[in-house]
């Protein structure tokens, strides 16, 4: 538990069992946060867990790989989730192979003249959301996990069910990177993102896909004054 005393914002990680495609994310979050979350709080859910409950993952060695995916993945630095044929093929399956190939070619050319990040802009929304093998907790560590579908609808449902101030779906890792994938209107997603920078979700084995930002409403309002 971390606390920013002067602003009274508390980050409370919530442990759960491993959630799977058989679970409803809204029902599960409600179950695990009952009695812990109030009307001034924000519920945060890890992006990959939302996607898993939606069944948005593929077992890596069951993906049929095209020659184009094998070639295209070689142009991604090896630390990227699209640097493997199955990662690239997953993106092509979601966004269309020609769109991805074009975005990659154009992005690569523009990178040569110093313009970076165009591939992720043109390659479709999944280009930046896909987690490759090893990117998610077991038993999904052998899978390619997509970004969640309809994140804004999921956060709206979470907020409605929990009666809290807001809800966000976040992509956070131990490298101090935090990105908001879905956020309810009226709350400052970037502000919440900064509070998640220390990754309260923990590593894969810690099974904490949910956290509560206590009294986030007051925190946000105090900064606006």
């Amino acid at each position: 538990m971390t606390t920013t005393q002067e602003l009274r914002v508390e980050t409370i990680p919530i442990s759960t069992r491993i959630l799977t495609q058989k679970d409803d994310i809204v029902e599960m979050v409600d179950k695990y946060t009952r009695g812990k979350i109030g009307e001034n709080d924000v519920i945060c859910v890890a992006e990959s867990v939302v996607a898993i409950t939606q069944g948005k993952f593929l077992v890596a060695d069951q993906i049929e790989i095209s020659g184009l995916a094998k070639l295209c993945c070689r142009f991604i630095p090896d630390y990227g989730s699209l640097a493997t044929p199955h990662g690239m093929q997953s993106l092509m399956n979601a966004e269309g192979k020609y769109r991805v190939a074009f975005a990659l070619f154009a992005g690569f050319m523009l990178k040569l003249v110093g313009l970076r990040g165009m591939f992720y802009k043109w390659g479709g929304e999944q280009a930046a959301l896909i987690d490759d093998v090893t990117g998610t907790m077991p038993p999904f560590d052998k899978c390619v996990v997509y970004g969640p579908a309809e994140p804004d609808k999921v956060v709206a449902n979470l907020k409605s069910k929990l009666g809290c101030f807001g809800a966000i779906i976040a992509d956070v890792n131990d490298l101090k990177r935090s990105r908001i994938v879905g956020v309810t209107p009226g709350m400052d997603g970037e502000l919440a993102s900064q509070l998640l920078i220390d990754n309260p979700f923990g590593n894969a084995s810690e099974k904490r896909p949910i956290c509560i930002l206590k009294n986030f409403r007051q925190y946000q309002e105090s900064l606006r004054k």
Binding site: A60, R74, T84, T134
Partner: protein, 187 residues
């Protein structure tokens, strides 16, 4: 407008040359970037040792490296130790093998996929459990032990698609009995 034959030839050759140069540059780029090359170094394993033992069973372990000798990151997705001792050959002992990452030991025979950066390696621990059958004490069962071949089957990926590879080692009866402190009897 129609092009004269020699002009059309020159344009055609020019296009072919551009495509060839582009193809050559891509091949050069891919060659320089390289791929992952995952190599198990069982020959450099640690000596077998007793991990656990009771009256009816003994677990032996050894550690060895999976090295990524390529230029690109690799994923070691799974490692399986498949023991090959049929009861037709020797039915006083049941043998089971498993592999775990040395850094993250587990009890569930699940191998969590790991990344091996290029020119780095991952230490794994192979565990082989020998369980006496037919109400034998483990020492009695091991006294007549035979060699146990073990297939290590491992799945890797990286720039190459997911694929399985395999190597075989033989855990000899002499090694087993020596580590267990049992005298091997010749039948």
């Amino acid at each position: 407008m129609t092009l004269e034959f020699p002009v059309a030839c020159v344009i055609g050759l020019g296009i072919l040359m551009i495509i060839s140069i582009f193809d050559l540059l891509i091949r050069l780029f891919l060659k320089l970037r390289g791929t992952e090359i995952v190599v198990p170094h069982f020959e450099k394993r640690s000596p077998w040792q007793v991990e656990n033992r009771d009256e009816t069973s003994i677990t032996l372990s050894t550690k060895f490296l999976f090295a990524n000798e390529g230029k690109s990151s690799a994923m070691l997705i799974d490692v399986i130790a498949r023991t090959q001792l049929p009861f037709e050959q020797y039915d006083a002992v049941e043998v089971r093998g498993r592999v775990e990452c040395e850094k993250y030991p587990r009890q569930d025979d699940y191998f969590a996929a790991m990344i091996i950066e290029h020119q780095e390696s991952l230490m794994v621990k192979a565990l082989v459990t020998l369980k006496a059958r037919k109400n034998f004490h483990i020492d009695e069962a091991l006294a007549h032990m035979v060699d146990v071949p073990i297939d290590f089957i491992y799945e890797t990926a990286g720039r190459n698609p997911c694929h399985y590879s395999k190597f075989r080692i033989v855990l000899t009866a002499e090694e087993i009995t020596q580590v267990a402190g049992v005298t091997l009897l010749k039948d």
